[in-house]
């Protein structure tokens, strides 16, 4: 156990380091963006109005002060970290003075709900079917599914989503194609809202699962078809080990290690949001927030979302590393 403890400490330290480096890189890149939030705000405020040039110069000065863009970069950098340690990303510049954390808090449940669900479903179903297809190589319906998965998973996601939308929103309009829930339904734990959320998530979820399931399926199938030639599988077969045990503890269990790593990363990746899903299905979430933030030159917002994403992925990688010895007992010796 002390060996494991040491390993965990090391890993934890690495996690901190990775998050630190990652957020710094994001900080630097967001700050070299040529988009000037002040100009962006001024344009938004004035482009439809009749505002005199002197007034604009005036406005520029006060905005710079308001957005805290004055002061040298060292001060800005230090105060950035000071705020982050208090889980505060400061105000959003494009939705001033709303705090970035509140914008993220609003978008996160949608993104998390949709993506965690679809990732888990496509992972488990894809792997299960993939394992079966790798084991029962001559099963017709599994073969057919394999062809389907192979043909479907390279289709650009955008096309899949758009086709689903056109089929179920236009040709046979039975599913909602916009928003996370129906209009004028109050958010909260009431049946109407929950049903509405479920109903609205069908198409986005379906599109994500259709695209996601294929690579897990194909990956698992090829892993399994390698594993079934391993001596221990052949031996267990000769030994008459029960089929379900074979499948579970001998084949899937051994094929699972790389897939679990993949799952952790996909789960971490959900903090990136699903920009195209959100765009096509008008689904609320982090992706739109991020792209909007980039457009508006809103570093506060972009950094906030990016940092959440960085922490999210690192955390799931950390967790997977910590539990990896449970998945593959051979690894503990190596670490």
């Amino acid at each position: 156990m002390p060996a494991y403890f040491n390993f965990a400490i090391k890993r934890l330290w690495q996690f901190v380091l990775v998050v630190f480096i990652g957020i710094n890189i994001a900080y630097v890149i967001t700050h070299v963006t040529p988009i000037d939030p002040v100009e962006q705000s001024i344009s938004a405020v004035t482009s439809f109005g009749n505002t005199s040039p002197e007034a604009i110069a005036d406005m520029r000065r006060s905005l710079q002060e308001l957005y805290g863009l004055k002061g040298d970069w060292i001060e800005q950098y230090i105060s950035f970290w000071r705020r982050i340690l208090q889980a505060d990303f400061g105000p959003s510049l494009s939705a001033f003075p709303a705090p970035v954390t509140s914008l993220i808090a609003r978008a996160l449940p949608w993104t998390f709900g949709l993506l965690a669900f679809t990732t888990l479903v496509s992972w488990s179903v894809g792997n299960l079917l993939g394992a079966l297809a790798g084991y029962y190589r001559n099963n017709r319906s599994l073969k057919f599914f394999g062809v389907l998965a192979m043909a479907l998973h390279p289709v650009p996601y955008y096309i899949v989503a758009l086709s689903l939308m056109i089929v179920f929103g236009f040709i046979w309009p039975v599913l909602p194609i916009t928003g996370g829930s129906a209009m004028d339904v109050q958010q909260g734990w009431n049946w109407q809202f929950v049903a509405s959320v479920f109903h609205h998530s069908v198409l986005p979820a379906l599109s994500l699962i259709m695209i996601g399931i294929g690579s897990w399926f194909l990956g698992m199938r090829s892993l399994v078809s390698n594993i079934i030639t391993e001596d221990y599988v052949v031996y267990a077969e000769i030994g008459g080990v029960a089929q379900s045990r074979m499948m579970g503890s001998y084949i899937i269990r051994n094929a699972l290690a790389p897939q679990v790593t993949g799952l952790a990363m996909s789960l971490g990746g959900i903090f990136n949001g699903a920009v195209i899903t959100e765009k096509i299905f008008g689904y609320p979430g982090l992706g739109t927030l991020l792209v909007d933030g980039v457009y508006a030159g809103d570093y506060g917002l972009v950094l906030g979302v990016t940092s959440i994403a960085i922490i999210g992925v690192s955390l799931s990688v950390l967790v997977i590393d910590l539990i990896y010895p449970l998945i593959d007992p051979r690894v503990q010796v190596a670490s």
Binding site: Q14, P154, P156, S222, N272, K279, V291
Partner: protein, 288 residues
């Protein structure tokens, strides 16, 4: 090598279909050199014509012939995917194998770098790069950036394979037999990670082309270089699907799908040929 390809071609159906698809795609790409129209010019043919004898795949709302536009687009897209895949493969193999095998501080340092690359969310970074570089963001530069961002995931995968290989006996045997680290990695481990490299190369091409399409759909692209994503972008700008100009979207998508299915089938069948285990099981388990 020639023989392998010949054998595969003659006797492996999957490989044949794969080669067939890729040949079509490559021919398509090759034809771009004979295109009668400059790739970026618009309104060189009547717009919105459906597929016909004159315009095999129809014309776009921008007055471009879909066939010729597609040929240059697939050429650029293939070159792009290949460049990203190759460059990022080099990094991920080197990092993954050395990290997995050497372990210790090398592993920790490499994995710290690796994990940083994994956790940095790609998408915003790409968009930010796009803003910073603006019109100097060519397709080639995008490929470079993507390959330097897109290796980390796979190198972790390769590392995990290398780590489990390391605990197998033959590694120890090789160490005692005095092979150098490089030799061990190359001769003992590479064959085992080769299947993974094959599938990751494919996935990486898939990923990079997919991301190219995504960026293009969102409008973050170099519109001076026609690509598949670019075609979809323009079609989208002209609401081609609801306007009934389906051929503008369908043919590029079919081409991308053909490319991927083709590459996948080729990779799978070559893999089978190379991988001693699956080959053995086909050949009939060694007559000892």
């Amino acid at each position: 090598m020639k023989r392998i390809i010949f054998d595969l071609l003659k006797y492996n159906n999957e490989f044949r279909i794969g080669v067939f698809l890729i040949l079509i795609v490559m021919t398509m790409a090759g034809l771009s050199f004979f295109s009668p129209y400059p790739p970026n010019d618009v309104f060189v043919v009547p717009p919105d014509a459906p597929p016909s004898a004159d315009y095999w795949l129809g014309t776009t709302s921008r007055g471009q012939d879909v066939f010729w536009q597609l040929s240059i687009a697939i050429r650029n897209t293939l070159a792009f995917g290949l460049l990203v895949a190759l460059l990022s493969r080099v990094i991920s193999i080197v990092v993954g194998l050395s990290s997995g095998y050497l372990g210790g501080w090398v592993d920790r340092v490499l994995m710290a770098i690796n994990d940083t690359f994994i956790v940095i969310p790609l998408f915003p970074i790409l968009i930010l790069f796009y803003f910073v570089l603006r019109d100097s963001m060519s397709t080639i530069l995008l490929a470079l950036i993507m390959s330097s961002l897109g290796w980390a995931y796979d190198s972790r995968l390769i590392r995990s394979v290398a780590m489990s290989l390391k605990t197998r006996e033959f590694t120890g045997t090789s160490v005692f037999s005095g092979m150098t680290i490089f030799e061990i990695l190359r001769r003992e481990h590479l064959p085992y990670v080769l299947p993974i490299i094959f599938s990751t190369t494919l996935n990486n091409m898939n990923w990079s082309i997919g991301l190219e399409v995504t960026l293009a759909v969102l409008g973050f692209m170099d519109i001076n270089t026609p690509t598949i994503g670019g075609m979809i972008y323009w079609a989208n700008q002209h609401t081609a699907i609801v306007a009934g100009i389906w051929w503008w979207v369908t043919f590029p998508v079919l081409t991308v799908v053909a490319t991927f299915v083709g590459l996948y089938l080729i990779a799978v069948s070559i893999n089978e040929y190379i991988d001693p285990r699956s080959r053995l099981s086909r050949m009939g388990g060694g007559q000892s």
